[in-house]
């Protein structure tokens, strides 16, 4: 009947207009929580519509064929704000590209949950606080670029367990202590560490304490 149809169209209308949080997708929720923390100065996140069933048509978000988020590409997007623990919910994330923005605050330790992460580029932001020790669990990580921020504390020795790490850059921060020498640290150039005025060169195991000068 015509009225039946009207009724159902009313429900459709209802669903798309007044129930913006219908989706139960935890990745949508994680990204939406991220969105809520950000100020999007140039409408880069215009397509992040929380009413869509999955975030796979959101710009700057890439999914695999099972509609799981594998990339977040927000480099140089004039975004400010902070990161929250909910980002740790993007279990399948491989590329976290947030470089060249105005992110501030601490790097959440929950990023250590992102077991599939290949690349984490947080460089050229205003992040502060310490490099989370939890990063030592990111066994797939190949690229870790945290340079040009305001990070403090020491470089966690635990990062020497990241055997796949090819590129590490923590230059231009306010790190202190000594630089680990084990594992992949053996192959990183000196430029990766420069301009940290309180960083005291390579670790001299047994001679100088690890967090010397911190």
């Amino acid at each position: 009947m015509a009225l039946h149809f009207l009724l159902s169209s009313v429900f459709i209308f209802f669903a798309i207009s007044v129930s913006p949080t219908l989706s139960s997708n935890s990745e949508v929720n994680a990204l939406h929580a991220l969105r809520a923390r950000l100020t999007d100065h140039t409408n880069v996140l215009q397509s992040w519509d929380p009413t869509l069933v999955n975030p796979c048509t959101w710009f700057h978000v890439t999914c695999d064929s099972n509609n799981r988020v594998i990339r977040l590409d927000l480099g140089n997007s004039n975004i400010s704000g902070t990161l929250g623990p909910e980002l740790g919910g993007l279990q399948h994330l491989q590329y976290l590209e947030l470089y060249m923005n105005k992110f501030e605050g601490k790097i959440p330790k929950e990023l250590g949950n992102l077991k599939n992460l290949v690349s984490m580029d947080l460089y050229d932001n205003n992040f502060e606080g310490e490099i989370p020790k939890s990063f030592a669990t990111l066994k797939s990580l190949k690229f870790l670029r945290l340079n040009n921020n305001r990070l403090t504390g020491s470089i966690p020795r635990e990062l020497s367990a990241l055997s796949n790490l090819k590129i590490l850059d923590v230059s231009n921060n306010d790190l202190c202590g000594t630089v680990p020498i084990d594992g992949p640290f053996g192959s990183f150039p000196i430029e990766s560490f420069e301009n940290n005025s309180r960083l005291n060169g390579p670790e001299l195991q047994g001679l100088v304490s690890y967090d010397f000068g911190c």
Binding site: S9, V10, I16, V18, D73, G75
Partner: protein, 878 residues
């Protein structure tokens, strides 16, 4: 001071529709401070069409305020201290919140922010506007919300409140007491607000002025609130589709001023029909109780409801017969008693008809639904409009209908009527203009020399057995404008006389018959006609009308020859199904408002016409998997809509004003997968030319298209190199040029393409080192495989130092080959038909949009099997 400066800012969609000057009271020239504030306000807005052209010079009282603007509402308005009237409705401030500073405009009496594209929470400091009398923040699809209505307590002067469509799902149950504290409230519109709390009782009803209350389309899931029957000032109450249950209080019939009551579609509202309709109903004109659980019999007292115009009890449990006193309802225009358990049809005798002005029964009745077709209908000698379409009527079509000599419109379409219809069924229908009999199981059995007593304008007899030969009696219908005799078992040639009739036809639907022969050239039809010859046995060259048309479907016939060149002069908005051939250049010349051109997976051949670049609104160009050849025209770099970064989302929803919603939905191959874009489609800019036979150099000009999100040129024969300027495409997320003959090095500039998330350069002849910086470090070997000359990470071939361009060997990566398989899986999902989606045109050209919606609806109906009733609605044309 003492000067009043009030603004009438009338915002209309198009610049040239309406003009309203600022009203300056008591002054011939405006204050300099006011002028400056307005200039600052203007500067904060985007006004691409220069709608505020009059905002110059010193005398701002002469400025005209109307525009189609977007941008951020500047708080410069704050300086207009005595602003009393602000109307920003119907604008496109997409994504921006309602500026909080509006709460400081203390003198405001009128504030209209409806449908202006604002999103986010409504600032509670609007509650400071104690002088405000009129507040409209209704929104269609931009989600405004409020978590509490506490702030409204401050709007002590408020008379008129419209918040339709605002998300109030988080508001607690206190919204009723808060609004109850507004003594002057006259109109309250809270439709479709997601409200869930409706308190069942209210100690003291303070709504002394409330005349109109619309709480429809909410989800109260509660009993019908008793306090409503104490609002004696109520004139109109709409609580339809609000998940109310329980008894409808009898007291509602005693509201002395109530004219309009709509409680439809609550499902579980109950009442004894006899008790409820025995009340006073002193002023009632419209009573809609459809789709509820009203039970019992219709009382004789229904004869007292003499003001009743529209009475709808559709789909309840009303039993018994229709009382003869219903004859007192002289004003009744619409009576719907369908889907009840009534016994019998209309009464044999109607009482009280002598009181009606014409002394005839139901002198005003235009619309009647009773379920089965009562044989007594033939006695309603004044009936002009019998609308029985879209029901489940079965049985035969009564002979007595033929006696309704006043009948102008007869609609029994979309039922299950059976049997034979003969001349006697139409014997006295000399005034008939609209005849809808489609989709029954009726057989027309008339003599070959029948001359109908009527001259119809609109004849719809689709899915009706009219054949086997073309119906000769149509030749007598000289006034016919709309003709649908589709699927009517007609075979053989179309007679020559038909082409004399057809020049008046706005609808010519003879599809799904077995018509033979050739079409005349040119095709005689009316301007803006819909022409559907789909699925017949027609032959010969394609013929076209000389006038502009809406829709032309010639598919599934036996036509031969090319698409005629003259089609560009005709400028049709036409939809071709299953036609192959060249993509004609007129597409670029005539469909300049096209937003999406998707001809994917067809047999289109030939070159891509350079005129495509004239389509200045084109955002999606998907010609993948055809047989196109030649160079990719450099003019593609002139596609204006793609030059701009699309930063403002606009929902592309159709059919809003017809009660039908169709959400645009286009599948786009992005990042190696087909993704359906719906609500955010307006943000997508895409060129997909993959799977053709394009030759020539990489089209450097397309690096002008700064708004590009998706570029797919894969599986062609493109040579040359990728220019450094590719990095200008900052928005590009998906770049696929795989399986071509591209060579040279990968531009180093690509390291700055920060949005790029999918890169496929595989199976080309690229050489040299892969840039190992920035975004280019985020792709794995599969992006580069099959290029023997490439070296460096992430490939396993390291570069020989000092010999960047020398060819190294790359270890074959079997995993990479698998990655290319997506191409072949993506071929399948493309529609076999090309669909032109002229979104831009549709907004402007109404007849075109109707045609397109009709077409889309038809498609949906065919594909989705939407109920018969839908297609019934769509096909019904007058």
């Amino acid at each position: 001071m003492g000067r009043f400066f009030a603004i009438g800012l009338v915002l209309v969609i198009l610049c040239l529709l309406s003009i309203e000057k600022f009203a300056c009271y008591g002054e011939t020239h405006c204050l300099e401070s006011d002028r400056k504030a307005l200039i600052d306000f203007k500067n904060g807005l985007h006004d691409p069409e220069d709608c505020l052209f009059s905002w110059k010079g010193n005398d701002c009282c002469q400025w005209v305020g109307f525009w189609n603007l977007s941008g951020i509402v500047d708080c410069a308005l704050l300086r207009l201290k005595s602003l009393r009237h602000l109307d920003l409705s119907l604008n496109t401030f997409e994504g921006n919140p309602i500026p909080e500073c509006l709460g400081s405009l203390q003198a405001l009496k009128y504030l209209n922010l409806s449908k202006a594209g604002f999103t986010g929470p409504i600032p509670p400091n609007l509650g400071n506007l104690s002088s405000l009398q009129y507040l409209d923040v209704s929104s269609d699809f931009s989600p405004l919300k409020a978590d509490s209505l506490q702030w409204m307590a401050g709007l002590s002067s408020l008379r008129y409140l419209v918040m339709n469509g605002v998300d109030l799902s988080m508001v607690g149950s206190d919204w009723v007491p808060i609004l109850n504290g507004l003594p002057f409230l006259t109109e309250l519109h809270l439709s479709l607000c997601g409200l869930t709390n409706l308190i069942p009782s209210l100690q003291f009803v303070n709504f002394t002025s409330l005349a109109i209350m619309d709480l429809s389309l909410n989800g109260f899931n509660s009993k019908f609130p008793d306090w409503i029957v104490n609002i004696s000032s109520l004139v109109s109450l709409d609580m339809s589709s609000s998940s109310l249950r329980g008894r409808i209080p009898i007291g509602i019939s005693e509201l002395p001023n109530l004219q309009h009551l709509n409680l439809a579609m609550n499902g579980n509202l109950t009442a004894s029909c006899r008790q409820l309709l025995s009340g006073s109903w002193r002023s009632i004109e419209v009573l809609d109780l459809s789709m509820n659980s009203v039970h019992g019999i219709l009382p004789s007292s229904i004869g007292n409801m003499t003001s009743l115009v529209d009475f709808d009890l559709f789909s309840n449990n009303v039993t018994g017969g229709i009382p003869s006193l219903i004859g007192f309802l002289c004003k009744l225009k619409s009576l719907n008693m369908e889907s009840n358990v009534l016994t019998g049809g209309l009464p044999e005798f109607l009482e009280g008809t002598e009181n009606c002005f014409s002394r005839s029964p139901f002198p005003s009745l235009m619309y009647l639904r009773l379920g089965p077709i009562p044989a007594s209908l033939g006695r309603l000698s004044s009936l002009m409009d019998m609308g029985l379409g879209g029901n489940e009527l079965n049985g035969s079509f009564p002979n007595s209908i033929g006696e309704l000599s006043e009948l102008v419109s007869l609609d029994v379409s979309f039922n299950q009527l059976t049997g034979i219809v003969s001349e006697t069924h139409f014997s006295n229908l000399s005034n008939l203009k609209f005849l809808f009999m489609s989709s029954n199981s009726l057989i027309l059995n008339i003599s070959s020399v029948w001359v109908p007593p009527f001259q119809v304008h609109n004849l719809q007899m689709g899915s009706y057995q009219l054949g086997p030969s073309f119906p000769d009696w149509l030749e007598t219908q000289k006034e016919i404008n709309f003709l649908d005799i589709s699927n009517a078992s007609i075979s053989g040639p179309i007679p020559d006389w038909f082409w004399d009739l057809s020049s008046n036809l706005s609808l010519l639907n003879v599809s799904f018959n077995q018509l033979q022969g050739q079409l005349p050239n040119p095709l005689p039809v009316a301007s803006f006609a819909d022409i559907d010859f789909n699925s017949n046995l027609l032959k010969g060259p394609i013929s076209l009308p000389l006038v502009e048309i809406e829709l032309l479907d010639l598919s599934a016939n036996q036509f031969s020859g090319p698409i005629p060149l003259s089609i560009g002069d005709v400028q049709p908005y036409s939809v071709f199904l299953s036609l192959s051939g060249n993509i004609p250049p007129w597409i670029g010349e005539s469909l300049i408002a096209l937003r999406v051109l998707r001809l994917r997976s067809n047999g289109f051949s030939g070159r891509l016409p350079p005129q495509l670049s004239n389509i200045s609104s084109l955002q999606v160009l998907d010609l993948a998997n055809n047989k196109l050849v030649g160079d990719i025209p450099a003019s593609l770099g002139d596609l204006q809509a793609m030059m701009q970064v699309q930063k403002v989302n606009k929902y592309l929803l159709y059919g809003k004003y017809r009660g039908l919603y169709y959400e645009e939905n286009v599948a786009i191959s992005i990042k190696g997968k087909a993704r359906e874009f719906t609500k955010t489609l307006s943000l997508v800019t895409c060129i997909d030319l993959s799977g053709n036979n394009f030759l020539g150099e990489f089209p450097e000009a397309i690096t002008n298209l700064l708004g590009f999100v998706v570029l797919n040129l894969s599986r062609n024969h493109i040579s040359g190199h990728i220019p450094e300027e590719i990095a200008n495409l900052h928005e590009l997320e998906s770049l696929d040029v795989s399986n071509n003959q591209l060579s040279g090095s990968i531009p180093y500039s690509m390291t700055s393409m920060t949005s790029l998330a999918y890169l496929n350069l595989s199976n080309n002849n690229f050489s040299g080192i892969i840039p190992d910086l920035g975004q280019m470090t985020t792709f794995d070997g599969s992006s580069y495989s099959g290029n023997p000359g490439l070296c460096g990470l992430p490939l396993l071939t390291s570069c020989l130092s000092g010999a960047l361009d020398t060819r190294g060997t790359v270890e074959d990566d079997s995993e990479n080959l698998l990655k290319d398989k997506w191409f072949y899986s993506s071929v399948g999902w493309g529609f076999a038909t090309g669909i032109l989606v002229p979104l831009g045109i549709l907004a402007i050209r109404k007849p075109w949009s109707d045609a397109y919606f009709g077409f889309v609806d038809n498609l949906i109906n065919r594909q989705m099997g939407v109920s018969r009733a839908t297609s019934y609605r769509n096909r019904r044309r007058r």
